[in-house]
């Protein structure tokens, strides 16, 4: 044969290689450029906002506080939803796109319960019982839908290339959306107004906080504590962590992997149910499409916080809530851009891109199974 029988010649002249030894490729340069630009934009924006604030223009201190509290409430909801994404990713290593629809199912069926309770007077006469019942209904619905989706769409795909369950979940997401759209109609259903007890606002440390927002934040904290206890202190929780770490070994240790996976979906679903209840307090209007954007945002939150990390999901959610609630006004507003609230969603996604450029494993670090680590 020909060339290869001879000694392969050095492919390039040494000088040329030497020049390439410059480690910084143009991609790194580009990324550094983005980093620096981001920092400059943020610094200038902050500076602009602060100087405006000092000059007595722009938002008042109370205005900022209101904005932050409402963003926190919104963020807490993202956080609870993010848990579902994070846990499923931690265990199965794919994005369960349909999780937003799991949440939506909770809000829709919760609406039936709330409406029924309202018509029967329970909503006004016994608000806490009513809210609790709605919570239970939403949680049960979301859990059932989550488990059903797992059974129908994901279980047969164990071990398939990871793109496949991801695409399946996108399909499932649309299927669920339009199923609910068909069942409930595409119009908006409005929950009855929140009961009197939480309709006003309370004063905490001198800050007026709307009671609904406070309730939402409290519920989120309680759910997080409950979940933390479940995951760290119970047998099933430990099984979940073991399966997340290594399915094969967990199976060898006598853990029923399939059942644990179902449990993960169930717990994620239940948390989505809680978020559904919170949604009904905060926004009241629901329709079949209500789950899509919160779902995407919640996944963003999960990635922000570091996927697979339960505390990270919550932290990521709260941060995302702040980024998109306060960010536009604080940063972009400071730069003098008009109509910044319209860019809210763009800010949320840009935050995601920036976080992944600065810290690819999320702000609080990833916790992934052995096979998913890079």
């Amino acid at each position: 044969m020909t060339a290869i029988d001879e000694r392969p010649a050095p492919p390039e002249a040494p000088e040329e290689r030497e020049r390439k030894a410059l480690r910084i490729s143009w991609i790194d340069l580009f990324l550094w450029g983005i980093r620096i630009a981001a920092i400059i934009v943020i610094v200038f924006g902050l500076f602009g906002s602060i100087s405006k604030f000092v000059a007595g223009e722009g938002l008042t201190a109370q205005g900022w506080r209101d904005l932050i509290v409402s963003s926190l409430a919104q963020g807490a909801m993202y956080g609870l939803l993010a848990l579902g994404y994070s846990m499923v990713y931690g265990v199965l290593g794919f994005i369960n796109f349909a999780h937003g629809e799991v949440f939506m199912s909770g809000t829709m069926v919760g609406f039936i319960a709330a409406n029924w309770l309202f018509e029967n007077g329970v909503w006004t006469s016994n608000p806490f019982l009513a809210m609790f019942l709605v919570l239970i209904v939403a949680m049960i619905t979301s859990t059932l839908v989550a488990v059903l989706v797992e059974r129908i769409a994901y279980k047969p795909l164990r071990g398939a290339p990871r793109l496949i369950p991801l695409i399946t979940s996108i399909g499932m997401s649309f299927f669920l959306q339009y199923t609910f759209g068909g069942l409930f109609g595409v119009g908006f259903n409005t929950y009855p107004p929140p009961p009197e007890v939480i309709a006003g606002s309370v004063n905490i440390f001198g800050i007026d906080v709307r009671s609904t927002q406070l309730t939402v934040i409290i519920i989120a904290i309680l759910s997080m504590i409950g979940l933390w206890y479940f995951v760290t202190r119970t047998r099933s929780g430990r099984a979940m962590r073991a399966v997340a770490e290594d399915k094969e070994i967990a199976g060898l240790m006598g853990i029923n992997v399939d059942r644990t996976i179902v449990l993960v979906f169930a717990v994620g679903g239940a948390m989505a149910g809680v978020a559904a209840m919170m949604w009904s307090l905060l926004f009241r209007s629901v329709n079949f499409f209500a789950g899509f954007l919160p779902g995407v945002k919640a996944f963003t939150a999960a990635v922000l916080g570091g996927i697979g990390n339960i505390a990270g999901a919550m932290g990521g959610g709260v941060l995302l809530g702040l980024f998109e609630g306060v960010g536009p006004l604080l940063i972009l507003g400071g730069l003098g851009i008009p109509g910044v609230s319209q860019l809210k969603d763009a800010v949320a996604f840009i935050a995601l891109v920036l976080v992944l450029i600065f810290r690819p494993s999320g702000l609080f670090g990833e916790r992934l199974g052995s096979e998913d680590r890079v």
Binding site: I34, T168, F174, Y178, L183, N189, T300, L352
Partner: protein, 609 residues
Amino acid sequence: MTTVTTSPPRTASERSPVDRAVMRRVLRVGVLAGGVMVYTAAIGMFQTFNDKEIIDPILSLSYLVLFAIPAVAGASFSKRVAIEGIETEPLSTLDIAKAAIAGAIAGVVVALFALLVDLFPDLRGTFPKLGPQMVRLLTLEYSVASGFIVLPAISAVAAGAGAAFAWIPERIRRPLLLAGASIPVLSMFEPLVDDLFDEIPAITDFLYSPAGALTITSSIVVALVVAGVSYYLRQRDPIIKKRLSQSADVSVRRRTTIVLAIIAILAFVVLPQFLGGIMNELLTNVGLFALMALGLNVVLGFAGLLDLGYVAFFAVGAYTTGVLTSPLSPTWDPVLSWWFAFPAVVVAAVLAGLMVGTPVLRMRGDYLAIVTLGFGEIVRILLLSDWLSPYFGGAQGIRSIPGIPVAGTQVNATSPELMIYAVLVFVFIAVYVSWRLEDSRIGRAWAALREDEDVAEAVGVDTVKAKLLAFVTGAVIASFAGALFAAKVGTVFTNSFQILVSIIILVIVIVGGMGSLPGVVVGALVLIGILGGPNQPGLLQEFGEFKLLIYGALLVYMMLKRPEGLLPSVRRQRELHQDEFLQDAWLDKGEGDEPQSPGPSVAEPGGQA
């Protein structure tokens, strides 16, 4: 697969009619079928489909769909999984009986549902589709009570027929099935047929009633003709097949492919001349989506990068064209012709591809999905924003975009029979480019990247470059679609660039077959042509309301049952049917023959390989 492994094979003598497992299965299938029937009614599909007659005036689409469900369920009773070495149970009348019982159960479920809706009219407050009209239709305009007799009876017959179908000898079954299918197909494709035989109204007048459905007479004639032709062809079939299969020789096969491709191209070139405005409009939309799907196919099918914000490149193409060519575009004054704007579109797409591609280069594979989705939204939001409206028009979009000037005329929507050629030219370019790239050093690098990124890097593939190249190629192809879209529609608004578009392109690529060029084109033809795009009506406008439901269901179904797509690429087929290939390779050992590509119907092996 599961049913086979759990129940040991039984002989006829052992089988007892009161076998509890059998009963449970009958019940389960019946309730499931009933549930699906109820589902179609509860989401309103059943009622909507009633507007479309299949055979005027005796059969509407709604009843066809409704009773197809027990028929399919019934057919499952006479399905046998063939396993080598184990004798399959022969079909028996008992199967039909079982199917009929299951069908009856399904009917009862539906009747119960109708009763429920009838008893609680308040349900309509929450579930708007559950009204008296639905009950009336569901019980075939009889009373609710008689529904308990009529529905189970028809469902039982449908299910029994479904089961009995397997009894019919193969050579008759096929023509029968085709004849049966031809009636709804011809009825639903009425606009197409109407358009094709525009000049010969005698044909359409004979076939269709004023409502646009087949008449009783015409459906009988159609069924007979189709059955006859297919029976005749089937007799001759072996000869043709033999001739084709003998050409295992690669060069002959390649020649066949080329001949087929030329025929297809000629058909595409000639066809628009015979079609009216409606069909050309439809095909133009198909072409635009095919173009985008071809682009996504490079990114996803070749390089394995899941881009959920692909619509962003479409938007970049459309907006660049709009800004440069429209006299109304704010800020940008010179009015360029489409041809001069085109290079700018390509440049903008390359830049956009790099902008999106670079930050995600080092990210984990599936973060890519969410980040690209985010990019898609960022682009849309920025284009819509008041902030950038001095450049992109914001909510008012960019209007008065001229068409493509060709030989003194403007090619745009007012000349659909020319627009289609513009789109076809670019589809051909995209197909040609993808085809050439796939079988080149770059295509192999993408394939390696898709298989195993780390190893690809280790054997000398510059994965950064390969990824960016994929992103940029995909972006440029999508921008072609955008440029054509802007010229065609004449206005661009951001609501044409929703996430939904990305998802639908994804469905096209998946359904057609990731990495398969004919698959992607056929996928676009089938999905956009029949169901339609997000803002584009398809041939079957009756499905409009349930378009996205069907898209979602299709995506799930394909992933579960046929992940390689309708016309799979060879590599995908290998990947998803590795165990079958291994078996074949084992069987072929020593023969020195290349493995036959296994059909989808090959029995799956009992265990994982």
